[in-house]
């Protein structure tokens, strides 16, 4: 992939729920980027100080009055981006699992004309900071999803992504999932002819706190997405 010089602001959305222990670190890390970043935290009804901490450190905070789930948070991000006429957005988890240094690669892929760029933890040899069953599960679901969207995807659960808003404008009214939105957005974008690319990212364990993701719920969601989003 050729190197591209990016001299305009990149809009980064960080969905977060009760991430007061990680959010400052995530924002600080992103601020070290050489890119001109505009940071937004979509606080999904946190009951802790996530919003206050994010706002204090300079991010724009959009707060859900109650907790809905990551999917709803990402829809809020998309709506906001469309209202503000943003060309494309990058999403980064608020739990510190995404290395801000990888942002450059994701943005470069977008600048090269892709509609959806996914940061994949499985494209490079590395020690993965997740339980074995989860790794196998993600691999299996990714294989299943790849068949459904007829494009090779190695990491369907990664939320380190960039989305072209022109395609999101078409699919946003059809998005329904409040929790595991990644699969649904992927399927809907593909159905709209989106060009999808994956770039390798480093897998790092979350800062502190517990993951809110469960493999059983995820499997159920996958089946629901495959059944519900078919043509």
């Amino acid at each position: 992939m050729k190197k591209t010089k990016i001299d305009r602001p990149i809009h980064v959305f960080i969905p977060a729920y009760n991430e007061e222990e990680n959010i400052e670190e995530v924002i600080r890390g992103l601020k070290h980027s050489e890119l001109d970043l505009k940071l937004y935290v979509i606080d999904d009804g946190s009951t802790d100080k996530t919003a206050e901490k994010a706002s204090k450190i300079g991010a724009t905070v959009v707060k859900h009055p109650v907790n809905l789930g990551g999917g709803a948070a990402i829809r809020t991000a998309f709506t906001l981006a469309l209202l503000n006429g943003i060309d494309y957005v990058v999403t980064v988890d608020g739990d510190g699992q995404h290395d801000p240094k990888e942002l450059q690669n994701i943005v470069e892929a977008m600048e090269n004309g892709y509609d959806l760029v996914i940061g994949s933890r499985f494209l490079r040899e590395q020690e993965l900071s997740m339980p074995f069953y989860r790794r196998i599960g993600i691999r299996f679901f990714s294989w299943l999803m790849s068949r459904a969207v007829a494009t090779r995807i190695t990491d369907t659960t990664s939320c380190y992504r960039a989305y072209k808003m022109a395609v999101i404008r078409e699919v946003l009214p059809k998005l329904r999932e409040n929790q595991y939105y990644g699969l649904e957005v992927l399927m809907r974008m593909r159905q709209n002819g989106a060009k999808i690319a994956e770039v390798p990212i480093i897998s790092i364990s979350r800062g502190t706190g517990k993951s809110k993701k469960g493999i059983i719920k995820f499997a159920y969601n996958l089946l629901r997405t495959l059944v519900g989003n078919g043509r």
Binding site: T60, K63, L68, A72, N84
Partner: protein, 123 residues
């Protein structure tokens, strides 16, 4: 002779009819919904009171005995109701999500009005 289960069934049916009427009086149910629920609970009460009525349906359903028929039909109705409840819950969840998102975006633009760097929402 009337069996204990029949009395229980009739009482439950009567209780549910009463609950439906209360919901209708409170304005929670419209006429259509009230009629639907009243018909269902009245059928339950009548079938418990006169179980021999189910024998009329046995040839149509190709079932052999009345109690089994009641059980199977009851299960089917329960599945339908469970699905209807799921649909309703999904619709409510969707509406709630839309509302919450609207509030969040409205608050964001309200705050941003003081900041000239932020574009205002078209209203």
């Amino acid at each position: 002779m009337i069996r204990g289960i029949q009395i229980l069934g009739v009482l439950i049916g009567a209780y549910l009819i009463l609950q439906t009427l209360i919901q209708w009086k409170k304005g929670n149910y419209g006429v259509k919904k009230t009629v639907l629920w009243l018909s269902l609970w009245a059928s339950v009460a009548i079938l418990f009171a006169f179980p021999e009525l189910t024998t009329l349906a046995l040839p149509i359903l190709t079932m052999e005995d009345a109690y089994r028929t009641v059980l199977v039909v009851g299960l089917i109705v329960a599945y339908v109701l469970a699905y209807e409840t799921y649909q309703q819950a999904t619709r409510t969840e969707r509406k709630l999500a839309e509302l919450v998102q609207k509030i969040a975006i409205h608050d964001y633009f309200k705050k941003a009005r003081g900041n000239p760097d932020e574009k205002d929402e078209d209203r």
